[in-house]
């Protein structure tokens, strides 16, 4: 009886609970006592369950050691890079290359011995493997220095990211995966103007390699980097095709292209979160952030003459004119529109599929409510993009300020109702940024500069105190009442 019930209960737990146990943040010691008292499990089963997880103190200690070891590794790597970069021109090239290879090999050897075989110091060993990944990156740049390769060296970041991904996979290291993702993203931005067509390798690497690895390692931050990186790639590519380069084009492009795109992408991520595509806290949190950032960009009262985009050409990056190839000879809007349209169609199709899946799973609220919210959320950015040139600047700013405010209040409400601290914090952050921005907009020119800063500082201090007090009160109540995971 106890066996069957216990097995069913554990199997039915939502993923967020499993993750909390895995991270050692809250081993179910007290709960396990209750389960024994209720007759759900036997004392022997309780002991077996608890033996699977580190105690809270152990978990904290391990994390602290890991964090300090990784910080130490970064400092050592930075010191070694700077030391060699500044002092080693007197060595012959072969000696430098030998030093680079030796440093990489020795660090990985130390990491292997300490961390894995025999593995007497696993945390220190993992840090040494991380240091090895940093030394490898340093090695790429030092080789570039030895042979006078150009400092504008985007391929270096590609080599770095590609080289450390297999190590992240072999030793299941989330920090190395984060480093690889950041390297690949820097490479994507560095290569953006140089590639003749769009950089399709980056999204393939993100979705085909980094994402599966992030899932397997349960590295939520890597998944955040993937979804953010994918949007950055899409927006940057669209911007490049549309030749959105100069400040005027950026402002117009922000209103017509980037802000609505960010809102649509945010809605896709919400729907993905509700459909359990991945960790809900990642998809709901990042999705909400994208939507709010889009609203925020549209909440300023600057004009948006779309003719600046339609004219195109003059704003190309670096002040260059268009090239003569048949594709590039087209006006920017014609070149960019098919790519943009295809992307928007994919986003809308993904949103519809995820919403349907979420509805089927009962995650989106059965009935018209969920669908209505989704429909409005999709329509708002689409209408904003299509009619940006028709709106007056003031009406648009007013509407999107109201939407931003409503979204912020909605997030805070959901955070409070669901006792989800991350969602609540996101809502409070959005509220603070919105308030500071509008205060700056309204009063920077209207009142004396000294008074502006004094009042602003007082408002910040007072507002911060109020927000922090409310947040602490709420989180304390939740801790006393038992925190629940956020499930829409």
């Amino acid at each position: 009886m106890a066996n069957g019930t216990a097995g069913g209960t554990v199997g039915g737990k939502p993923p967020s609970i499993r993750n909390r146990f895995r991270r050692g943040a809250g081993p179910p010691r007290e709960e396990a006592e209750d389960w024994v008292a209720l007759g759900l499990i036997t004392p022997a089963q309780r002991d077996a369950i608890l033996a699977l997880y580190p105690t809270a103190a152990e978990g904290r200690r391990d994390r602290a050691v890991l964090i300090f070891s990784i910080l130490g590794s970064i400092l050592v790597a930075a010191g070694v890079i700077l030391y060699f970069a500044a002092n080693w021109p007197l060595l012959p090239a072969w000696a430098k290359v030998t030093a680079i290879f030796s440093a990489i090999l020795l660090t990985y050897w130390g990491g292997f011995r300490l961390g894995y075989s025999p593995g007497a110091y696993p945390v220190l060993g993992k840090s040494l493997v991380f240091l090895g990944a940093l030394f490898y990156g340093a090695g790429i740049w030092l080789v570039a220095q030895i042979f006078h390769l150009q400092s504008n060296f985007p391929s270096g970041f590609l080599l770095w990211g590609l080289g450390i991904l297999p190590v992240a996979w072999v030793v299941s290291s989330a920090p190395i995966l984060y480093a690889a993702t950041v390297c690949l993203t820097i490479w994507m931005f560095s290569e953006l103007p140089a590639v003749s067509l769009l950089n399709y390798l980056y999204p393939v690497l993100l979705l085909g390699v980094v994402m599966p690895l992030a899932r397997r390692l349960r590295a939520a931050l890597a998944e955040v980097l993937v979804v953010v990186g994918f949007f950055l790639w899409f927006a940057a590519s669209a911007g490049r095709l549309l030749e959105i380069g100069g400040p005027r084009e950026m402002a117009t492009g922000g209103l017509v292209v980037f802000a609505p795109l960010a809102m649509l992408y945010g809605v896709l991520l919400w729907a993905g979160g509700a459909a359990e595509w991945g960790p809900q806290r990642v998809y709901l949190g990042v999705g909400a952030a994208f939507t709010l950032v889009g609203c925020y960009a549209l909440s300023f009262n600057y004009p948006a003459p779309v003719s600046q985009l339609l004219g195109g050409g003059a704003g190309a990056a670096g002040g260059a004119a268009t090239s003569s190839s048949s594709l590039s000879a087209l006006p920017p809007l014609l070149r960019g529109t098919p790519f943009l349209t295809a992307g928007v169609i994919l986003i809308l199709a993904g949103t519809a599929a995820a919403t349907r899946l979420a509805w089927k799973r009962g995650r989106w609220g059965r009935g018209a409510g969920g669908w209505s919210v989704m429909a409005v959320s999709v329509l708002v950015p689409v209408v904003a993009a299509l009619t940006a040139h028709l709106w007056g600047t003031i009406p648009r700013a007013v509407v999107f300020n109201l939407l931003l405010f409503a979204g912020t209040v909605g997030l805070i409400t959901v955070g409070v109702q669901r006792r989800a601290e991350a969602i609540l914090n996101l809502g409070l952050l959005s509220f603070a940024i919105h308030a500071i921005t509008r205060y700056t907009d309204l009063f920077f020119r209207a009142i004396d500069r000294a008074l502006f800063f004094i009042l602003g500082g007082l408002l910040l201090l007072g507002g911060g105190w109020l927000i922090e007090r409310s947040r602490r009160r709420l989180t304390k109540e939740w801790e006393e009442g038992g925190e629940s995971s956020y499930v829409p």
């Binding site: 297999p166 299941s172 990056a317």
Partner: protein, 232 residues
């Protein structure tokens, strides 16, 4: 040599196989942890070795060219100090050098044909596609580069030769001025040495680069007033 006992828990738990990654499951099944670990490390060393090998190939097979420069002195925190070199062939103007495929855009790949002058090599043509062997004169070298920036300029008006009044000249058509990078713009020097060279603005720097058959250039030597810059 090593016991294969150190596999991380996440990797050893069989989640890869369970999560439907057949390739990953196959690799795990056929390669023990110790081999996977050292293969991943060897891949890193191989990538760095490839970087060196490409450079060595160009040095071994390429043709040397002498280029005139004008230095400035930035500092790259990744790699210490270097001389930032701009060449006469870096800044080109339409009209002085024939340019095919104008206008160019930032980041565009271009191919510059170099011809040896009395001492230095000069640009004689720019194209957006690599010229074939038959299109290049004997002795010329084709060098690949990327457009850093390109913008139209109005040429300076020609000074009047006759004193008699002339009818107003029509506005001259704009020409393109192009700045091209070839990947040989940095020469690394010991800390402080770059500033010494920069302070002495009279010094004439000359670069000996090597260009291989694919149009890739590497720096071989830098001369300051005819003397090679060496620190060992």
């Amino acid at each position: 040599m090593f016991r294969d006992s150190g596999e991380p828990k996440e990797a050893a738990s069989g989640q890869a196989a369970a999560s439907g990654q057949p390739l990953e499951a196959w690799v795990r099944g056929h390669l023990p942890f110790v081999k996977r670990y050292w293969l991943a490390v060897l891949l890193q060393l191989a990538l760095i070795a490839a970087l060196i090998a490409v450079h060595g190939y160009t040095l071994a097979t390429g043709r040397p060219v002498l280029l005139k420069t004008a230095p400035i002195d930035p500092w790259d925190p990744f790699r210490g100090q270097y001389l930032s070199l701009a060449y006469e062939i870096s800044r080109l103007e339409q009209g002085k050098v024939p340019m095919e495929g104008l206008p160019y855009r930032h980041g565009q790949q271009v191919w510059v044909t170099l011809r040896q002058g009395d001492t230095y090599w000069n640009a004689v043509a720019v194209a957006t596609s690599r010229p074939g062997n038959k299109e290049v004169a004997a002795g010329d070298v084709v060098l690949g580069g990327r457009v850093q920036w390109a913008y139209p300029v109005t040429p300076a008006p020609q000074p009047a030769i006759q004193s008699s009044p002339q009818p107003a000249q029509p506005l001259q058509p704009e020409i393109m001025r192009v700045f091209i990078r070839y990947g040989i713009e940095q020469f690394y020097v010991p800390e402080g040495e770059g500033q010494k060279i920069e302070r002495n603005r009279q010094v004439q720097l000359v670069v000996e680069a090597v260009v291989d058959s694919r149009g890739r250039a590497v720096l071989r030597r830098v001369f300051a007033d005819g003397k090679e810059l060496r620190w060992r």
